[in-house]
Chain length 565, copies 2
């Protein structure tokens, strides 16, 4: 164990979201980022997921700090949940801390944690680790690459980045410092793979300005721009172009308002006096003096854009003459919903500018030629693709191998839970930890047990039948006929949700099913009858057979025995 | 009512799938296509959806025939369900009937229905309607445009099409006949909008041949081609290129095997003797002599490709050296699953050819310049965009208006259920019928009631609590303490699925909830207690309040009262 560094990704590998990586040397451990994810289980009442931080318990006395590269939810969102387990100092940039504070406040944690604000070029030593925070460029502002000197060599963690020489807000990527590390020697580069399938360079944040200027010049009515609330460069562009075309901006949607407030308060957004107006103010403005800057680019049903397109949102609805600008990428999985939303907007008679038709969105992540620049600047011994689905990680590897002349053994593909050991010469996966996901119900920041979600899935698929048996244990007889309650079962009438009884077609089947259970009980041996577990399994199987034979359905069946007498 | 034609779309407008349109003149009605859709409700055990054909009851004595443009599931899949309601003759092409027969056979309907085989250029008169079947080109074979002469004018229904002058199988699109109708005068063109957002021309089915030849020339190991089972042109190309490179083809996946069998039997696929081999045969071949032609391009978990990528499918698994060709588009909604599947395949060490990197898939639908050719050939008075989400329909309208010089009032946007009335001069939506969807569980071709799916959705979201009250009506007292069963409720222990009792953390809350119900009953007025409906609503509300206060959860609550004594 002497003189080896361990890298253990808890999330972000083979999936989007939940970025979190442990870095361990001896008995010291850093946590790099603490992100949440947005799981496909949303239909089962799951709002977000986070890595199962159970593993941190084992290192409770070793963890010295949490380092955040930037403030996107997939890097920051799980911070409260980590801090609830392990309260250690957090290091992050000014703006990242602004977002973190807001989040910790919601969780009631703000007073209890130690937050360290760091600036680009700051160097912080935490035990055996010396961390330099290097200015990164990304779709968000105030982002870092991390250069972490360890006793076995320097690790560079890119965080999320693209090579943007002309960001809208702040300074460009600090390639000079990255190159300095490259010259001094970098052991491993943990490198963003999101766009590793995309050839060429990712355009600068500024690249969308001409299209916005054109759109603003053409639009005769109101303009509605939907963007990610965290795309602060983009928000600044909208504010600037609005100013240029004598329009005022009304910000709608909770997260957009929050981010604009934080970014303005911390001095990142440059907003002219009187530029921001309330909904009420817009009523006194001509249509061609208004821009709505709104949430909902992913067609989230509760967000501003969807509401404005389908009904009235705070008095505003999309109308003929409006120009709607979808200034965001489509997150995979949202295609159908967004296409529907666009249909609703067309139906309202508005004009829509979609991404594909004009350059109104650019990615924040490194394309292949950005990856080339990063890799050539840092010249790592080992390239470790992170942050992406396997498809992206493999394509990242393929690109580095074929176009940057790295040998196969110097590109290390890891998975969540892998323990990657580095001794300065060699990189090897020496262990595999199982890292599950934890589901969260964001309404109360409550965890949803995995088993609970599993039950919901099963019920969702074919419904549930609850079977009540009242047994008189004195006489060892049924105290009352069996009673069956079906919910969501094909071919079965339900006691309606909300307790209102309904008896749709086919009520007879309930009676027949109860008779089948009666028969099953009559046929049970006295030994079975006496053992509740055996009896439950016996009637469950018989009822299952009956239902499947009669209707083909395979609902969840829950037998309940009540002992009376 | 005299001398007007009604067009009533039952599906396919504002959505993908469920294409079905009624055409009515006087007391005669044609059904054009009968398609199924693939709803987002699949997590609720719904396999497919079809239009609610209840509306057909009203026209029971008027419907004279069902006309099918082609054999894709979104045009053919609901045929058995329509025929179960209204048994009328079906007109379709040779190959379409091949698919229809197979489907009707599965439903046990084959002997009971009248199927008319028609050829291109056939003209059939059914009452007031005279229908010419015109050769269309598409990704499927043996497809039709319909030219329907009615007393108020000629309607052309494009079906699905692209303008393909060089299909792989069969003759090109019959533009000559379409132009003849254009010269004679077309009242309305019902026109495929699927690719109305796409500029330019859609490439010919042949366009993928060079990429396939390259891939086959490069591949050193086995080749696995995943394609839509219905892309018969594509299957022929794979067979031809395999022949050229001395490989044998093994077809895997039920629908692929079925379609190859039908297409070969009916003489559409040209297969050399000995070209098709079984899995067993492949064991005696060298890797570079094998092509697997498989289902599963959409990452369906039970299809061949997914199985081969994640485990062993009939003895075959994807291995290092294999080349996997994804020769299909990504159907919106499947992006995440397909990206994951690609990751699995990379992990196996195989090479993957994805659509974006090479021309290995072409669409079967008309792009904007195809739409131009169709519209200019038929010169309709009215253009009626069909087959697509609203987004596509609106873009279709926009294109026709801006680039083909149609006046706004000559482009008619309709929705499912609209009654579009045409009198030869005027087109007007005169009524709106509500057309719901019907959900189908394909395991038994059984309908799933809408209410059942609604219940599943609610239970899926926050779980369900069933509350049992046993009341002795003689004494008007509880005959036993209340009993609460929770499934999938956050913070509540469940009686496990399969009847196995479990008591995870927090078992106390069940007891507390039962006490809360006790208290609610004690507090109920005697009037409430006597009325089961009032009593159920009373305890439901109290229990709801208790659960929400204690855990924040909002499960479905089903109170059940049993009268004893």
């Amino acid at each position: 164990m002497a003189n080896v560094l361990e890298i253990i990704p808890l999330g972000g590998i083979g999936e989007f979201g939940m970025n979190c990586t442990l870095l361990r040397f001896g008995d010291e451990m850093l946590v790099l980022d603490a992100g949440m994810g947005f799981p496909e289980e949303s239909v089962y009442g799951v709002d977000v997921c986070i890595p199962d931080f159970e593993i941190l318990e084992q290192y409770r006395n070793e963890i010295t700090a949490i380092i955040l590269t930037h403030g996107h939810e997939d890097h920051l969102g799980a911070l409260p949940y980590v801090l609830k387990k392990i309260n250690v100092p957090v290091y992050a940039s000014h703006f990242t801390l602004g977002l973190a504070e807001s989040k910790l406040d919601e969780h009631g944690l703000l007073g209890d944690v130690l937050l360290h604000r760091v600036e680009p070029r700051d160097v912080v030593t935490i035990g055996s680790f010396t961390i330099e925070f290097i200015r990164a460029s990304h779709s968000l502002i105030d982002c870092f690459h991390l250069a972490i000197k360890t006793p076995v060599g320097t690790i560079i963690h890119t965080g999320d980045y693209k090579v943007d020489e002309s960001p809208v807000i702040g300074e460009p990527i600090d390639l000079r410092t990255l190159r300095r590390y490259g010259q001094e020697g970098v052991l491993a580069l943990l490198s963003d793979s999101t766009n590793a399938t995309v050839p060429g360079r990712t355009p600068s944040e500024r690249a969308v300005i001409p299209a916005f200027e054109e759109i603003f010049a053409e639009a005769k009515g109101r303009i509605i721009v939907a963007a990610f609330a965290s795309s602060i460069h983009r928000l600044q562009i909208v504010l600037d172009v609005a100013q240029q075309f004598n329009r005022k901006v009304c910000v709608l949607g909770r997260s957009m308002q929050k981010n604009v407030e934080i970014a303005e308060r911390l001095g990142y957004l440059d907003i002219h006096d009187g530029m921001l107006v309330s909904i009420n103010d817009t009523k006194h403005l001509a249509d061609d003096q208004i821009v709505f800057l709104v949430t909902g680019s992913q067609a989230e049903p509760r967000a501003a854009l969807y509401q404005m397109a389908t009904q009235i949102y705070k008095g505003v609805t999309i109308e003929e003459g409006d120009t709607v600008v979808l200034s965001a990428r489509i997150i995979p999985g949202n295609e159908r919903a967004i296409s529907k939303l666009i249909g609703f907007i067309y139906k309202r008679g508005a004009n829509i500018i979609e991404e594909k038709r004009r350059l109104i969105h650019v990615s924040g992540h490194a394309s292949q030629e950005d990856i080339r620049i990063m890799t050539e600047a840092t010249r790592p011994k080992f390239v470790v693709p992170i942050h992406g689905e396997y498809r992206m990680l493999f394509r990242h590897k393929e690109f580095v191998k074929n176009h940057l002349d790295y040998a196969e053994e110097n590109i290390v593909l890891i998975e969540n839970g892998d323990v990657l050991e580095l001794d300065g010469e060699r990189a090897a996966i020496v262990d595999k930890r199982e890292i599950k996901r934890t589901f969260i119900d964001e309404t109360g920041f409550e965890e949803i047990e995995y088993e609970t979600v599993r039950e919901r899935k099963k019920m969702a698929y074919e419904g549930i039948v609850t079977l009540f048996l009242s047994i008189n244990r004195t006489t060892n007889e049924l105290a009352a006929p069996p009673q069956i309650i079906a919910q969501g079962v094909r071919g079965f009438p339900s006691i309606g949700i909300n307790g209102v009884s309904k008896a749709p077609s086919g009520g007879a089947i309930l009676k027949d099913a109860e008779l089948a259970v009666d028969a099953a009980i009559a046929g049970a041996s006295s030994q079975t009858f006496k053992d509740p577990t055996l009896l439950k399994e016996h009637v469950r199987l018989e009822l299952k057979r009956f239902i499947q034979k009669e209707t083909g359905a395979r609902p969840v069946i829950v037998p309940v025995i009540r002992d009376l007498g």
